[in-house]
């Protein structure tokens, strides 16, 4: 019988995401700091505090140009405005505003908010592994807040509760 519902007939309920760099629950190597979840941040000087203690300082490792008198407008635009904004591992600066007020860097997986490493200003980002989405705009298996827009793979049924 035709249905009144003009929307989707079935909603994918179950979903699996298998492209992890390493599988398992403790697959996230976190430098010296152990596994961390948002929204607790481990300040390198003060220890673990709530995220509301901190202020976000944007993408890290963007060097101020040294040839500012000769560089083009588009090169300036790149420095001032363009950002990598990745869905994945992001190097960023934070300031412990309500604590020691010192700056430090974090590597965070923006697809899950897992904090992968905390390191000091001036240091290079350490190597980490992260639980990334299987497709560029997909959702990670754990940690994504988005259960709505997950994609079914060709061989997936969508779990027991999905319709036709």
């Amino acid at each position: 019988m035709p249905r009144l519902d003009p929307g989707i007939r079935s909603v994918p309920a179950g979903f699996r995401m298998d492209r992890r760099i390493k599988s398992g629950d403790d697959d996230i190597k976190c430098g010296n700091w152990g596994r961390q979840e948002m929204f607790l941040i481990r300040c390198p000087w003060c220890g673990e505090r709530d995220v509301s203690d901190f202020s976000y300082g944007g993408e890290a490792h963007i060097a101020r140009p040294t040839d500012s008198e000769t560089m083009s407008d588009s090169a300036w635009a790149e420095f001032v405005f363009l950002r990598s904004n990745p869905k994945g591992v992001h190097a960023e600066r934070w300031n412990h505003q309500a604590g020691c007020r010192r700056w430090f860097n974090i590597l965070r997986n923006t697809a899950t908010d897992d904090i992968l490493a905390v390191y000091k200003m001036g240091e290079s980002p350490p190597e980490v592994t992260a639980n990334l989405p299987a497709t560029p705009s997909g959702e990670a298996a754990i940690g994504s807040g988005n259960d709505a827009a997950k994609i079914l793979g060709p061989d997936e049924t969508g779990g027991a509760t999905a319709g036709k």
Partner: protein, 416 residues
């Protein structure tokens, strides 16, 4: 397209609702389209609809990774207004507002458009001067706007206290009477149904995994349902604009942040209009079901997780109770987050790119819903003619090189 109306409702009522047709098809992708729109939200479907209706481009597809309207279209607080400060913003948002007025009739779909009015409260002298300036700027641009003194605010919206002893006293407010709210699902479904009737393929559960180019021009896309050839790809992916652009090696002036909203339990009608307060930092309206719909600011950090931090929820609740003390014992039913793409000047990007045939519509920040029809209308024009029209031109990516920013941070009703 099956017409909806009182006659079809009576007819179907008498035969057990067995004659309703699906509102749109569920086609498999064809190997080639004249243009592909990535993103089946309000803006994407509006773009497809206007491309088909006004530019005769009907061999096109909308590719949606989840289901239509399941992203930010289903997560916003549906506030409609156009009282922006600058000429460029007023032009596009008021273009949208004029389209909203007749959209339900045009789409033959009840979008539940309610022009109930939007109040922007002023709580201190500086804010009052700034909002009065905005009223005058709006009126010069033909946007309906007026200034209300505290007694008039009270008369227009009785639950607001205008006691001078409040910590954040109400010194007045701007009112846009043509502003209001509408029904997000209905807008998405209405556009989808109308676009589908014009021949647009709406392909859901299909994620774009790559965009192919050759010699600096788009040649097609790869998806989870296979490759599709096309000379034109238009990204309308709120929350993933940078991810899509990165497929062509483009970097954008955009950062993505979670923005949270929530609804209370349904209560009797108490809020006759939309109330926004920048200083207390909350915006509230009441849905037709009776729920108070509440939004506030973004999480400050970049993230693609659609939930947001708890301290933002706390702040939002505190602001709500400060502004409307009677809500302190309300229970809340749902809280959710969406990802908003924010530009440095708090204005959107509607632009060609250096890749021929790749167009970007995004970066609407926290206020994209209100622009849905206007955004789709001017973006369709850009895709069809390969040149922006006068409304879209100021929102090109070149503004970040030239410096001609449309800096709406201060003019948006809520601080970003």
């Amino acid at each position: 397209m099956q017409r909806y109306g009182i006659l079809s409702l009576i007819r179907e009522g008498l035969r057990g609702h067995t004659g309703w047709e699906p509102a749109w098809r569920f086609p498999e992708p064809k190997p080639r389209y004249d243009a592909i729109i990535i993103g089946g939200g309000g803006h994407g479907l509006a773009t497809a609809y206007y491309l088909a209706k006004e530019h005769g481009l009907t061999d096109i597809a909308v590719i949606e990774k989840g289901w239509i309207g399941g992203g930010n279209a289903g997560r916003n607080t549906t506030i409609i207004r156009s009282n922006y400060l600058y000429d460029e913003s007023a032009a596009i948002y008021d273009h949208a507002l004029q389209l909203w007025k007749n959209l339900g009739r045009e789409l033959d779909f009840n979008i539940m458009m309610s022009h109930r009015g939007v109040l922007n409260l002023a709580h201190d002298e500086g804010e009052m001067r700034q909002l009065k300036r905005r009223v005058e700027a709006n009126r010069l641009n033909g946007v309906d706007a007026e200034w209300l003194e505290p007694e008039d605010v009270k008369a227009f919206c009785p639950p607001i206290s205008i006691a001078p002893t409040l910590r954040y006293p109400v010194l007045g407010a701007t009112l846009q009477r043509s502003g209001g709210t509408n029904r997000h699902d209905a807008v998405v479904w209405g556009y989808a149904r109308a676009a589908d009737a014009l021949g647009v393929d709406i392909i859901q559960q299909c994620e774009v995994t790559n965009i192919l180019s050759e010699g600096g021009a788009v040649t097609g896309i790869e998806t989870t349902k296979g490759p599709i050839a096309t000379p034109k790809v238009a990204s309308v992916t709120a929350g993933h604009t940078s991810v899509i652009a990165a497929m062509l090696g483009l970097k954008l002036p955009i950062e993505s942040h979670p923005l949270q909203a929530m609804v209370s339990e349904p209560i009797k009608p108490v809020m006759p209009c939309v109330v926004m307060s920048s200083a207390v930092h909350v915006y509230v309206s009441q849905s037709d079901k009776g729920e108070l719909v509440i939004g506030a600011g973004i999480d400050p950090h970049l993230s693609y997780t659609q939930r947001g931090s708890f301290d933002i929820v706390e702040h939002q609740m505190a602001a709500m109770v400060e502004l409307l003390p009677f809500t302190s014992r309300l229970r809340f039913m749902r809280q959710w987050g969406g990802i908003v793409d924010v530009c440095p000047d708090a204005s959107p990007v509607i632009s060609k790119t250096r890749i021929k045939g790749f167009y970007v519509n995004g970066g609407w920040g926290t206020g994209g819903w209100k622009a849905t029809p206007g955004s789709g209308h001017v973006f369709a024009d850009l895709i069809a003619n390969d040149e922006p029209n006068a409304i879209a031109a100021p929102f090109a990516l070149e503004r970040f090189v030239s410096g001609a920013l449309v800096a709406e941070h201060g003019a948006a009703a809520v601080a970003h």
